[in-house]
Protein backbone atom coordinates (compact mmCIF):
# COMPACT_ATOMS: atom_id res chain seq x y z
CA UNK A 1 0.00 0.00 0.00
CA UNK A 2 2.72 2.49 0.87
CA UNK A 3 4.04 2.08 -2.67
CA UNK A 4 1.00 4.00 -3.88
CA UNK A 5 2.19 7.19 -2.23
CA UNK A 6 5.38 7.03 -4.27
CA UNK A 7 3.41 7.70 -7.45
CA UNK A 8 3.39 11.16 -8.96
CA UNK A 9 0.00 12.64 -9.83
CA UNK A 10 0.53 11.70 -13.49
CA UNK A 11 1.39 8.12 -12.49
CA UNK A 12 -1.51 7.87 -10.03
CA UNK A 13 -3.86 9.17 -12.73
CA UNK A 14 -2.75 6.30 -14.98
CA UNK A 15 -2.99 3.73 -12.17
CA UNK A 16 -6.56 4.84 -11.42
CA UNK A 17 -7.56 4.91 -15.10
CA UNK A 18 -6.21 1.40 -15.66
CA UNK A 19 -7.87 0.15 -12.43
CA UNK A 20 -4.51 -0.90 -10.93
CA UNK A 21 -5.57 0.98 -7.83
CA UNK A 22 -8.74 2.62 -6.56
CA UNK A 23 -9.11 6.17 -5.31
CA UNK A 24 -10.06 4.74 -1.92
CA UNK A 25 -6.84 2.71 -1.73
CA UNK A 26 -4.81 5.73 -2.75
CA UNK A 27 -6.48 7.97 -0.16
CA UNK A 28 -6.08 5.35 2.58
CA UNK A 29 -2.38 5.01 1.77
CA UNK A 30 -1.89 8.75 2.27
CA UNK A 31 -4.01 8.83 5.43
CA UNK A 32 -1.81 6.11 6.88
CA UNK A 33 1.37 8.04 5.95
CA UNK A 34 -0.09 11.15 7.59
CA UNK A 35 -0.72 9.31 10.81
CA UNK A 36 2.89 8.14 10.99
CA UNK A 37 4.30 11.53 10.05
CA UNK A 38 2.73 13.60 12.83
CA UNK A 39 6.19 14.56 14.22
CA UNK A 40 6.60 16.70 11.08
CA UNK A 41 3.53 18.73 12.12
CA UNK A 42 2.68 19.35 8.45
CA UNK A 43 -1.08 19.08 8.93
CA UNK A 44 -3.00 21.16 11.46
CA UNK A 45 -6.21 19.25 10.76
CA UNK A 46 -6.67 15.87 9.10
CA UNK A 47 -10.05 15.21 7.48
CA UNK A 48 -10.03 11.42 6.97
CA UNK A 49 -13.81 10.96 6.87
CA UNK A 50 -14.32 13.63 4.28
CA UNK A 51 -11.34 12.28 2.32
CA UNK A 52 -12.78 8.76 2.25
CA UNK A 53 -16.19 10.08 1.16
CA UNK A 54 -14.60 12.08 -1.63
CA UNK A 55 -12.49 9.08 -2.71
CA UNK A 56 -15.59 6.89 -2.76
CA UNK A 57 -17.35 9.40 -5.00
CA UNK A 58 -14.25 9.44 -7.23
CA UNK A 59 -14.32 5.66 -7.50
CA UNK A 60 -17.96 5.85 -8.58
CA UNK A 61 -17.13 8.41 -11.27
CA UNK A 62 -14.10 6.39 -12.40
CA UNK A 63 -16.32 3.32 -12.74
CA UNK A 64 -18.79 5.27 -14.86
CA UNK A 65 -16.03 6.65 -17.06
CA UNK A 66 -16.71 10.21 -15.86
CA UNK A 67 -13.32 10.93 -14.31
CA UNK A 68 -12.17 14.52 -14.02
CA UNK A 69 -8.59 15.67 -14.61
CA UNK A 70 -7.67 15.10 -10.94
CA UNK A 71 -10.09 12.29 -10.18
CA UNK A 72 -9.19 10.60 -6.92
CA UNK A 73 -5.93 12.52 -6.43
CA UNK A 74 -5.39 13.23 -2.69
CA UNK A 75 -4.26 16.77 -1.97
CA UNK A 76 -3.30 18.78 1.09
CA UNK A 77 -4.82 22.27 1.37
CA UNK A 78 -2.94 25.18 2.94
CA UNK A 79 -4.83 26.58 5.92
CA UNK A 80 -5.11 29.93 4.10
CA UNK A 81 -7.81 28.55 1.78
CA UNK A 82 -11.41 28.70 2.97
CA UNK A 83 -12.81 25.18 3.04
CA UNK A 84 -16.53 24.89 3.71
CA UNK A 85 -17.27 23.65 7.21
CA UNK A 86 -13.61 22.79 7.84
CA UNK A 87 -11.06 24.53 10.10
CA UNK A 88 -9.72 27.62 8.26
CA UNK A 89 -7.53 29.83 10.43
CA UNK A 90 -4.44 30.92 8.47
CA UNK A 91 -2.74 29.17 11.42
CA UNK A 92 -3.64 32.12 13.66
CA UNK A 93 -5.07 32.16 17.16
CA UNK A 94 -7.21 35.15 16.16
CA UNK A 95 -9.36 32.94 13.90
CA UNK A 96 -10.02 30.34 16.60
CA UNK A 97 -12.86 28.04 15.66
CA UNK A 98 -13.53 29.66 12.28
CA UNK A 99 -15.30 27.34 9.85
CA UNK A 100 -16.30 29.18 6.68
CA UNK A 101 -19.76 28.57 5.23
CA UNK A 102 -18.22 28.85 1.73
CA UNK A 103 -15.45 27.29 -0.35
CA UNK A 104 -12.53 29.12 -1.98
CA UNK A 105 -12.64 29.20 -5.78
CA UNK A 106 -9.28 27.40 -6.07
CA UNK A 107 -10.34 24.45 -3.91
CA UNK A 108 -13.78 24.36 -5.57
CA UNK A 109 -11.98 24.09 -8.94
CA UNK A 110 -9.88 21.22 -7.63
CA UNK A 111 -12.94 19.35 -6.31
CA UNK A 112 -14.76 19.98 -9.61
CA UNK A 113 -11.92 18.03 -11.27
CA UNK A 114 -12.23 15.18 -8.78
CA UNK A 115 -9.48 15.96 -6.24
CA UNK A 116 -9.72 14.60 -2.69
CA UNK A 117 -8.91 16.80 0.32
CA UNK A 118 -6.79 15.08 3.01
CA UNK A 119 -6.66 17.96 5.47
CA UNK A 120 -5.42 21.48 6.18
CA UNK A 121 -1.72 22.23 6.06
CA UNK A 122 0.34 24.18 8.55
CA UNK A 123 1.81 27.55 7.53
CA UNK A 124 3.28 30.72 8.96
CA UNK A 125 0.55 32.78 10.64
CA UNK A 126 -1.27 34.75 7.92
CA UNK A 127 1.49 33.64 5.53
CA UNK A 128 3.96 35.97 7.27
CA UNK A 129 7.24 34.14 7.60
CA UNK A 130 9.98 32.26 5.77
CA UNK A 131 10.51 29.33 8.13
CA UNK A 132 7.09 28.19 9.34
CA UNK A 133 8.08 29.26 12.86
CA UNK A 134 5.26 31.82 13.27
CA UNK A 135 2.34 29.34 13.13
CA UNK A 136 0.09 29.27 16.19
CA UNK A 137 0.13 25.50 15.70
CA UNK A 138 3.88 25.15 16.08
CA UNK A 139 6.80 24.67 13.72
CA UNK A 140 6.70 22.38 10.73
CA UNK A 141 9.78 20.17 10.60
CA UNK A 142 11.52 19.67 7.27
CA UNK A 143 11.66 15.97 6.29
CA UNK A 144 15.24 16.69 5.14
CA UNK A 145 18.16 16.67 7.56
CA UNK A 146 21.82 17.47 7.05
CA UNK A 147 23.95 14.46 6.19
CA UNK A 148 24.86 12.61 9.38
CA UNK A 149 22.80 14.90 11.60
CA UNK A 150 19.58 14.44 13.56
CA UNK A 151 19.01 18.16 14.04
CA UNK A 152 15.67 19.54 12.89
CA UNK A 153 15.54 22.01 10.00
CA UNK A 154 12.82 24.43 8.90
CA UNK A 155 10.87 23.64 5.71
CA UNK A 156 10.80 27.31 4.70
CA UNK A 157 7.66 29.39 4.65
CA UNK A 158 5.08 30.44 4.57
CA UNK A 159 3.83 27.31 2.74
CA UNK A 160 6.02 25.11 4.95
CA UNK A 161 3.33 22.53 5.65
CA UNK A 162 2.55 22.23 1.93
CA UNK A 163 6.21 21.72 0.99
CA UNK A 164 6.97 19.28 3.84
CA UNK A 165 3.81 17.24 3.11
CA UNK A 166 4.66 16.91 -0.58
CA UNK A 167 8.30 16.02 0.15
CA UNK A 168 7.34 13.43 2.79
CA UNK A 169 4.59 11.84 0.64
CA UNK A 170 1.78 13.00 2.92
CA UNK A 171 -0.21 14.15 -0.12
CA UNK A 172 0.18 13.83 -3.89
CA UNK A 173 0.32 17.60 -4.24
CA UNK A 174 -0.65 20.66 -2.26
CA UNK A 175 -2.13 24.10 -2.64
CA UNK A 176 0.05 26.98 -1.51
CA UNK A 177 0.22 30.76 -1.79
CA UNK A 178 3.04 33.17 -2.52
CA UNK A 179 3.19 36.85 -1.53
CA UNK A 180 6.99 37.30 -1.50
CA UNK A 181 8.34 33.79 -2.06
CA UNK A 182 6.07 31.60 0.07
CA UNK A 183 5.71 28.89 -2.59
CA UNK A 184 9.17 28.96 -4.16
CA UNK A 185 11.35 29.23 -1.04
CA UNK A 186 9.80 26.23 0.80
CA UNK A 187 9.81 24.25 -2.47
CA UNK A 188 13.55 24.93 -2.76
CA UNK A 189 14.12 23.91 0.90
CA UNK A 190 12.36 20.56 0.44
CA UNK A 191 13.37 19.41 -3.06
CA UNK A 192 9.89 19.99 -4.49
CA UNK A 193 8.56 22.03 -7.41
CA UNK A 194 6.55 25.19 -6.69
CA UNK A 195 5.09 27.70 -9.10
CA UNK A 196 3.70 31.13 -8.34
CA UNK A 197 1.65 31.99 -11.40
CA UNK A 198 1.13 35.46 -12.83
CA UNK A 199 -0.92 37.76 -10.61
CA UNK A 200 -4.52 37.25 -11.70
CA UNK A 201 -4.11 33.68 -12.97
CA UNK A 202 -5.81 32.09 -9.94
CA UNK A 203 -8.79 33.59 -8.18
CA UNK A 204 -8.04 34.98 -4.73
CA UNK A 205 -11.63 34.52 -3.63
CA UNK A 206 -11.70 32.57 -0.40
CA UNK A 207 -7.95 32.89 0.12
CA UNK A 208 -7.46 34.73 3.41
CA UNK A 209 -5.92 38.04 2.40
CA UNK A 210 -2.40 39.11 3.41
CA UNK A 211 -1.25 41.65 0.79
CA UNK A 212 -3.85 41.80 -1.94
CA UNK A 213 -1.70 43.27 -4.73
CA UNK A 214 0.92 40.52 -4.23
CA UNK A 215 -0.93 37.37 -3.09
CA UNK A 216 -1.26 34.52 -5.60
CA UNK A 217 -2.17 30.87 -5.19
CA UNK A 218 -0.21 28.09 -6.83
CA UNK A 219 0.70 24.43 -6.38
CA UNK A 220 3.62 22.63 -4.73
CA UNK A 221 4.23 19.22 -6.34
CA UNK A 222 6.75 16.40 -6.68
CA UNK A 223 7.74 17.30 -10.23
CA UNK A 224 7.16 19.80 -13.00
CA UNK A 225 4.48 17.74 -14.74
CA UNK A 226 2.44 17.46 -11.55
CA UNK A 227 2.71 21.21 -10.97
CA UNK A 228 1.43 21.76 -14.53
CA UNK A 229 -1.51 19.40 -13.96
CA UNK A 230 -2.44 21.11 -10.68
CA UNK A 231 -2.17 24.68 -11.97
CA UNK A 232 -4.44 23.84 -14.91
CA UNK A 233 -7.19 22.94 -12.44
CA UNK A 234 -6.53 25.75 -9.95
CA UNK A 235 -6.49 28.63 -12.46
CA UNK A 236 -9.68 30.31 -13.63
CA UNK A 237 -11.33 33.63 -14.23
CA UNK A 238 -13.79 34.34 -11.43
CA UNK A 239 -16.53 36.92 -11.13
CA UNK A 240 -15.84 36.97 -7.37
CA UNK A 241 -12.28 38.29 -7.88
CA UNK A 242 -12.14 41.25 -10.24
CA UNK A 243 -8.34 40.92 -10.47
CA UNK A 244 -8.62 37.41 -11.92
CA UNK A 245 -7.85 37.56 -15.60
CA UNK A 246 -10.10 36.46 -18.44
CA UNK A 247 -7.48 34.62 -20.46
CA UNK A 248 -8.10 30.95 -21.36
CA UNK A 249 -6.16 28.50 -19.15
CA UNK A 250 -3.82 26.52 -21.42
CA UNK A 251 -3.19 22.80 -21.09
CA UNK A 252 0.16 23.28 -19.35
CA UNK A 253 1.10 19.62 -19.63
CA UNK A 254 1.19 20.02 -23.40
CA UNK A 255 3.93 22.61 -22.97
CA UNK A 256 6.35 19.95 -21.72
CA UNK A 257 7.86 19.29 -25.14
CA UNK A 258 11.48 18.96 -24.06
CA UNK A 259 12.46 21.38 -26.80
CA UNK A 260 14.00 24.70 -25.82
CA UNK A 261 16.13 25.28 -28.90
CA UNK A 262 16.50 28.93 -29.76
CA UNK A 263 15.01 30.10 -26.46
CA UNK A 264 16.77 33.10 -24.92
CA UNK A 265 17.58 32.71 -21.22
CA UNK A 266 18.54 35.80 -19.21
CA UNK A 267 21.04 35.75 -16.34
CA UNK A 268 20.56 38.89 -14.23
CA UNK A 269 23.93 40.11 -13.01
CA UNK A 270 22.38 41.75 -9.93
CA UNK A 271 21.42 38.33 -8.56
CA UNK A 272 25.01 37.57 -7.62
CA UNK A 273 25.35 39.74 -4.50
CA UNK A 274 28.52 39.79 -2.41
CA UNK A 275 28.47 36.92 0.01
CA UNK A 276 26.29 34.61 -2.11
CA UNK A 277 27.21 31.03 -1.24
CA UNK A 278 29.72 29.48 -3.65
CA UNK A 279 27.51 26.40 -3.82
CA UNK A 280 24.47 28.34 -4.97
CA UNK A 281 26.56 30.34 -7.42
CA UNK A 282 27.98 27.12 -8.91
CA UNK A 283 24.55 25.53 -9.20
CA UNK A 284 23.28 28.59 -11.03
CA UNK A 285 26.15 28.39 -13.55
CA UNK A 286 25.41 24.69 -13.93
CA UNK A 287 21.75 25.43 -14.66
CA UNK A 288 22.70 27.91 -17.39
CA UNK A 289 25.07 25.32 -18.84
CA UNK A 290 22.30 22.66 -18.98
CA UNK A 291 20.01 25.01 -20.88
CA UNK A 292 22.79 26.04 -23.26
CA UNK A 293 23.51 22.40 -24.09
CA UNK A 294 19.84 21.97 -24.96
CA UNK A 295 20.12 24.70 -27.56
CA UNK A 296 19.05 27.75 -25.58
CA UNK A 297 20.95 31.00 -25.86
CA UNK A 298 22.16 32.37 -22.53
CA UNK A 299 22.30 36.17 -22.32
CA UNK A 300 23.32 38.47 -19.47
CA UNK A 301 20.59 40.92 -18.50
CA UNK A 302 20.42 43.73 -15.98
CA UNK A 303 17.67 44.31 -13.41
CA UNK A 304 19.20 47.35 -11.73
CA UNK A 305 16.55 47.89 -9.05
CA UNK A 306 16.73 44.34 -7.68
CA UNK A 307 18.22 45.29 -4.32
CA UNK A 308 15.41 47.74 -3.61
CA UNK A 309 12.65 45.18 -4.13
CA UNK A 310 12.82 43.67 -0.66
CA UNK A 311 12.76 46.92 1.36
CA UNK A 312 9.97 48.25 -0.90
CA UNK A 313 8.10 44.99 -0.32
CA UNK A 314 8.39 45.55 3.44
CA UNK A 315 6.45 48.78 2.99
CA UNK A 316 3.82 47.58 0.51
CA UNK A 317 3.07 44.18 2.08
CA UNK A 318 2.71 45.38 5.71
CA UNK A 319 0.65 48.38 4.55
CA UNK A 320 -1.81 46.14 2.76
CA UNK A 321 -1.73 43.64 5.63
CA UNK A 322 -2.53 46.28 8.23
CA UNK A 323 -5.62 47.13 6.24
CA UNK A 324 -6.65 43.54 5.43
CA UNK A 325 -6.17 42.37 9.01
CA UNK A 326 -8.28 45.20 10.42
CA UNK A 327 -11.26 42.84 10.07
CA UNK A 328 -10.13 40.69 13.00
CA UNK A 329 -11.98 42.55 15.68
CA UNK A 330 -13.23 39.86 18.05
CA UNK A 331 -16.80 40.55 16.97
CA UNK A 332 -17.54 38.81 13.69
CA UNK A 333 -15.47 35.64 14.00
CA UNK A 334 -12.63 34.04 15.87
CA UNK A 335 -11.13 34.92 19.21
CA UNK A 336 -12.89 37.41 21.46
CA UNK A 337 -11.22 38.79 24.58
CA UNK A 338 -13.71 41.01 26.35
CA UNK A 339 -12.96 44.52 27.57
CA UNK A 340 -14.70 47.43 29.29
CA UNK A 341 -15.73 49.04 26.03
CA UNK A 342 -15.66 48.32 22.32
CA UNK A 343 -12.11 49.67 21.85
CA UNK A 344 -10.65 47.53 24.59
CA UNK A 345 -12.52 44.53 23.18
CA UNK A 346 -10.73 45.15 19.86
CA UNK A 347 -7.36 45.82 21.51
CA UNK A 348 -7.51 42.81 23.79
CA UNK A 349 -8.68 40.40 21.11
CA UNK A 350 -6.00 41.51 18.66
CA UNK A 351 -3.23 41.58 21.29
CA UNK A 352 -3.94 38.01 22.29
CA UNK A 353 -4.94 36.73 18.85
CA UNK A 354 -2.01 37.86 16.71
CA UNK A 355 1.49 36.49 17.06
CA UNK A 356 4.65 38.60 17.28
CA UNK A 357 5.53 38.72 13.59
CA UNK A 358 1.99 39.58 12.56
CA UNK A 359 1.79 42.38 15.12
CA UNK A 360 5.15 43.72 13.96
CA UNK A 361 3.95 43.87 10.37
CA UNK A 362 0.58 45.41 11.22
CA UNK A 363 2.41 48.11 13.18
CA UNK A 364 4.90 48.81 10.38
CA UNK A 365 1.97 48.98 7.96
CA UNK A 366 -0.01 51.28 10.22
CA UNK A 367 3.01 53.56 10.59
CA UNK A 368 3.83 53.84 6.87
CA UNK A 369 0.20 54.61 6.06
CA UNK A 370 -0.25 57.13 8.88
CA UNK A 371 -0.70 60.85 8.28
CA UNK A 372 2.52 62.54 7.23
CA UNK A 373 4.33 59.35 6.21
CA UNK A 374 2.17 58.04 3.37
CA UNK A 375 4.11 59.80 0.59
CA UNK A 376 7.54 59.17 2.08
CA UNK A 377 6.97 55.44 2.46
CA UNK A 378 4.00 53.99 0.64
CA UNK A 379 4.00 56.16 -2.49
CA UNK A 380 7.79 55.92 -2.68
CA UNK A 381 7.60 52.11 -2.52
CA UNK A 382 4.93 51.98 -5.23
CA UNK A 383 7.16 54.15 -7.44
CA UNK A 384 10.03 51.74 -6.90
CA UNK A 385 7.66 48.97 -7.88
CA UNK A 386 7.14 50.74 -11.20
CA UNK A 387 10.94 50.80 -11.69
CA UNK A 388 11.23 47.09 -10.85
CA UNK A 389 8.53 46.26 -13.37
CA UNK A 390 10.23 48.47 -15.94
CA UNK A 391 13.51 46.56 -15.41
CA UNK A 392 11.71 43.34 -16.33
CA UNK A 393 9.93 44.95 -19.29
CA UNK A 394 13.36 45.94 -20.63
CA UNK A 395 14.71 42.42 -20.05
CA UNK A 396 11.81 40.85 -21.96
CA UNK A 397 12.99 42.71 -25.07
CA UNK A 398 16.11 40.53 -24.97
CA UNK A 399 15.08 37.24 -23.38
CA UNK A 400 12.14 34.82 -23.03
CA UNK A 401 12.85 33.59 -19.54
CA UNK A 402 15.18 34.50 -16.65
CA UNK A 403 17.20 32.01 -14.59
CA UNK A 404 18.18 32.79 -10.97
CA UNK A 405 18.85 30.95 -7.72
CA UNK A 406 15.67 30.32 -5.70
CA UNK A 407 17.14 31.05 -2.25
CA UNK A 408 20.42 32.41 -0.90
CA UNK A 409 20.98 29.26 1.24
CA UNK A 410 19.64 25.77 1.90
CA UNK A 411 17.28 25.07 4.83
CA UNK A 412 18.42 26.30 8.24
CA UNK A 413 17.59 25.28 11.80
CA UNK A 414 14.62 26.54 13.83
CA UNK A 415 15.74 29.42 16.02
CA UNK A 416 18.84 30.01 13.91
CA UNK A 417 17.56 33.31 12.49
CA UNK A 418 16.02 35.62 15.09
CA UNK A 419 16.62 39.03 13.52
CA UNK A 420 13.52 39.95 11.43
CA UNK A 421 15.51 41.67 8.67
CA UNK A 422 17.84 38.65 8.34
CA UNK A 423 14.77 36.44 8.01
CA UNK A 424 13.30 38.73 5.34
CA UNK A 425 16.48 38.31 3.25
CA UNK A 426 15.41 34.72 2.50
CA UNK A 427 13.10 36.17 -0.14
CA UNK A 428 15.77 38.25 -1.86
CA UNK A 429 15.60 36.27 -5.13
CA UNK A 430 11.84 35.67 -5.15
CA UNK A 431 10.25 38.94 -4.06
CA UNK A 432 10.95 40.91 -7.26
CA UNK A 433 8.62 38.50 -9.07
CA UNK A 434 5.70 39.37 -6.80
CA UNK A 435 6.45 43.08 -7.00
CA UNK A 436 6.18 42.86 -10.81
CA UNK A 437 3.28 40.36 -10.79
CA UNK A 438 5.24 37.82 -12.86
CA UNK A 439 5.19 34.01 -12.79
CA UNK A 440 8.11 32.17 -11.15
CA UNK A 441 8.87 28.49 -10.65
CA UNK A 442 11.35 26.82 -8.28
CA UNK A 443 12.87 23.54 -9.42
CA UNK A 444 15.13 21.27 -7.36
CA UNK A 445 18.51 21.28 -9.09
CA UNK A 446 21.04 19.73 -6.73
CA UNK A 447 22.20 19.04 -3.19
CA UNK A 448 24.36 21.15 -0.93
CA UNK A 449 27.62 19.78 0.47
CA UNK A 450 25.72 18.64 3.57
CA UNK A 451 23.05 16.90 1.53
CA UNK A 452 20.22 19.43 1.46
CA UNK A 453 18.12 20.33 -1.60
CA UNK A 454 18.94 23.49 -3.54
CA UNK A 455 16.61 25.07 -6.06
CA UNK A 456 16.82 27.27 -9.12
CA UNK A 457 14.15 29.74 -10.12
CA UNK A 458 12.83 30.55 -13.58
CA UNK A 459 10.96 33.83 -14.07
CA UNK A 460 8.61 34.29 -17.01
CA UNK A 461 6.69 36.94 -18.89
CA UNK A 462 3.16 37.68 -17.67
CA UNK A 463 0.84 34.73 -18.40
CA UNK A 464 3.62 32.76 -20.05
CA UNK A 465 3.57 29.90 -17.54
CA UNK A 466 3.84 27.51 -20.50
CA UNK A 467 7.41 28.59 -21.25
CA UNK A 468 8.26 28.30 -17.56
CA UNK A 469 6.96 24.73 -17.43
CA UNK A 470 8.77 23.85 -20.67
CA UNK A 471 12.14 25.13 -19.46
CA UNK A 472 11.65 23.82 -15.92
CA UNK A 473 10.89 20.37 -17.32
CA UNK A 474 14.13 20.34 -19.32
CA UNK A 475 16.11 21.54 -16.32
CA UNK A 476 14.50 18.89 -14.15
CA UNK A 477 15.58 16.18 -16.60
CA UNK A 478 19.15 17.43 -16.73
CA UNK A 479 19.40 17.94 -12.98
CA UNK A 480 18.19 14.36 -12.51
CA UNK A 481 17.16 15.23 -8.97
CA UNK A 482 16.02 11.90 -7.53
CA UNK A 483 17.21 12.28 -3.93
CA UNK A 484 14.57 11.92 -1.23
CA UNK A 485 14.57 12.62 2.46
CA UNK A 486 15.32 9.55 4.59
CA UNK A 487 12.20 8.50 6.48
CA UNK A 488 13.24 9.18 10.09
CA UNK A 489 9.72 9.87 11.35
Amino acid sequence: MTELTRLTIAEARDALASKKASATELTNAYLSNMEKARPLNAYVVETPEQARDMAKASDARLAKGEAGALEGIPLGIKDLFATKGVHTQACSHVLDGFKPPYESTVTANLYRDGAVMLGKLNMDEFAMGSSNETSYYGNVINPWRRKGSNAALVPGGSSGGSAAAVAAELCAGATATDTGGSIRQPAAFTGTVGIKPTYGRCSRWGVIAFASSLDQAGPIARDVRDAAILLKSMASVDAKDTTSVDIPVPDYEKALTGDIRGLRVGIPKEYRPDGISAEISRLWDQGAEWLKKRGAEVVEVSLPHTKYALPAYYIVAPAEASSNLARYDGVRYGLRVDGDDITSLYENSRAEGFGREVKRRIMIGTYVLSAGYYDAYYVKAQKIRTLIKRDFDEAWKKVDVILTPATPSPAFAPGEITDPVQMYLNDIFTVTVNMAGLPGIAVPAGLSADGLPLGLQLIGKPFDEETLFRVAHVMEQDAGFTARADKWW
Binding site: G97, S213, P311, Y333, G339, D341, Q382, T386, V421
Partner: protein, 95 residues
Protein backbone atom coordinates in the same frame (compact mmCIF):
# COMPACT_ATOMS: atom_id res chain seq x y z
CA UNK B 1 13.19 58.24 10.19
CA UNK B 2 12.84 56.44 13.46
CA UNK B 3 10.18 55.90 16.08
CA UNK B 4 10.34 56.54 19.83
CA UNK B 5 8.28 54.82 22.49
CA UNK B 6 5.55 57.45 22.28
CA UNK B 7 5.18 56.81 18.57
CA UNK B 8 5.07 53.05 19.16
CA UNK B 9 2.28 53.63 21.68
CA UNK B 10 0.42 55.77 19.14
CA UNK B 11 0.81 53.21 16.31
CA UNK B 12 -0.41 50.43 18.58
CA UNK B 13 -3.46 52.50 19.44
CA UNK B 14 -4.15 53.19 15.75
CA UNK B 15 -3.75 49.47 14.98
CA UNK B 16 -6.03 48.56 17.91
CA UNK B 17 -3.46 46.25 19.47
CA UNK B 18 -2.94 46.47 23.21
CA UNK B 19 0.76 46.85 23.91
CA UNK B 20 2.03 46.72 27.49
CA UNK B 21 4.60 49.25 28.73
CA UNK B 22 7.10 46.41 29.15
CA UNK B 23 6.83 45.54 25.44
CA UNK B 24 7.61 49.07 24.23
CA UNK B 25 11.44 48.93 24.29
CA UNK B 26 11.56 45.69 22.26
CA UNK B 27 9.03 46.95 19.70
CA UNK B 28 10.83 50.28 19.45
CA UNK B 29 14.12 48.62 18.56
CA UNK B 30 12.56 46.06 16.19
CA UNK B 31 10.55 48.63 14.30
CA UNK B 32 13.55 50.94 14.08
CA UNK B 33 15.74 48.15 12.68
CA UNK B 34 13.20 47.57 9.92
CA UNK B 35 12.69 51.28 9.24
CA UNK B 36 16.44 51.84 9.12
CA UNK B 37 16.81 49.10 6.53
CA UNK B 38 13.99 50.58 4.45
CA UNK B 39 15.85 53.93 4.43
CA UNK B 40 17.91 52.48 1.59
CA UNK B 41 15.06 53.42 -0.75
CA UNK B 42 16.07 57.05 -0.35
CA UNK B 43 18.99 56.37 -2.74
CA UNK B 44 16.60 55.81 -5.63
CA UNK B 45 15.61 58.78 -7.74
CA UNK B 46 11.86 58.46 -8.27
CA UNK B 47 11.22 61.93 -9.71
CA UNK B 48 8.72 61.69 -12.58
CA UNK B 49 7.98 58.03 -11.81
CA UNK B 50 4.33 57.11 -11.48
CA UNK B 51 3.46 54.86 -8.53
CA UNK B 52 2.38 51.39 -9.65
CA UNK B 53 -1.31 50.77 -9.12
CA UNK B 54 -1.80 47.48 -10.98
CA UNK B 55 0.79 44.87 -11.94
CA UNK B 56 -1.33 43.54 -14.78
CA UNK B 57 -2.59 45.99 -17.35
CA UNK B 58 -6.33 45.47 -17.29
CA UNK B 59 -9.48 47.51 -17.34
CA UNK B 60 -11.57 47.48 -14.19
CA UNK B 61 -14.35 45.00 -14.78
CA UNK B 62 -17.91 46.17 -14.48
CA UNK B 63 -20.86 44.03 -13.56
CA UNK B 64 -24.58 44.56 -13.50
CA UNK B 65 -25.76 46.33 -10.37
CA UNK B 66 -27.83 43.47 -9.09
CA UNK B 67 -27.99 41.48 -5.86
CA UNK B 68 -25.96 38.26 -6.27
CA UNK B 69 -26.04 36.97 -2.73
CA UNK B 70 -27.62 37.68 0.61
CA UNK B 71 -30.56 36.90 2.88
CA UNK B 72 -28.32 34.55 4.86
CA UNK B 73 -27.97 36.34 8.22
CA UNK B 74 -27.68 33.01 10.02
CA UNK B 75 -24.60 32.07 8.01
CA UNK B 76 -23.12 35.56 8.31
CA UNK B 77 -23.27 35.45 12.10
CA UNK B 78 -22.60 31.71 12.45
CA UNK B 79 -18.93 32.24 13.35
CA UNK B 80 -19.48 35.14 15.74
CA UNK B 81 -18.14 34.46 19.24
CA UNK B 82 -21.24 36.24 20.61
CA UNK B 83 -24.46 36.67 18.68
CA UNK B 84 -28.13 36.86 19.43
CA UNK B 85 -30.98 36.47 16.97
CA UNK B 86 -28.57 36.97 14.03
CA UNK B 87 -27.05 40.12 15.53
CA UNK B 88 -23.40 40.55 16.50
CA UNK B 89 -23.10 41.36 20.19
CA UNK B 90 -20.74 44.16 21.29
CA UNK B 91 -20.26 46.16 24.48
CA UNK B 92 -22.49 49.21 24.75
CA UNK B 93 -21.28 51.83 22.26
CA UNK B 94 -23.82 54.65 22.62
CA UNK B 95 -24.67 56.00 26.06
Amino acid sequence: MSVDQNTVRRIARLARIRVGEEELPRLESELNAILQWIEMLGEVNTDNVEPLTSVVAMKMKMRDDVVTDGAIPGLVTANAPKSDDNFFMVPKVVE
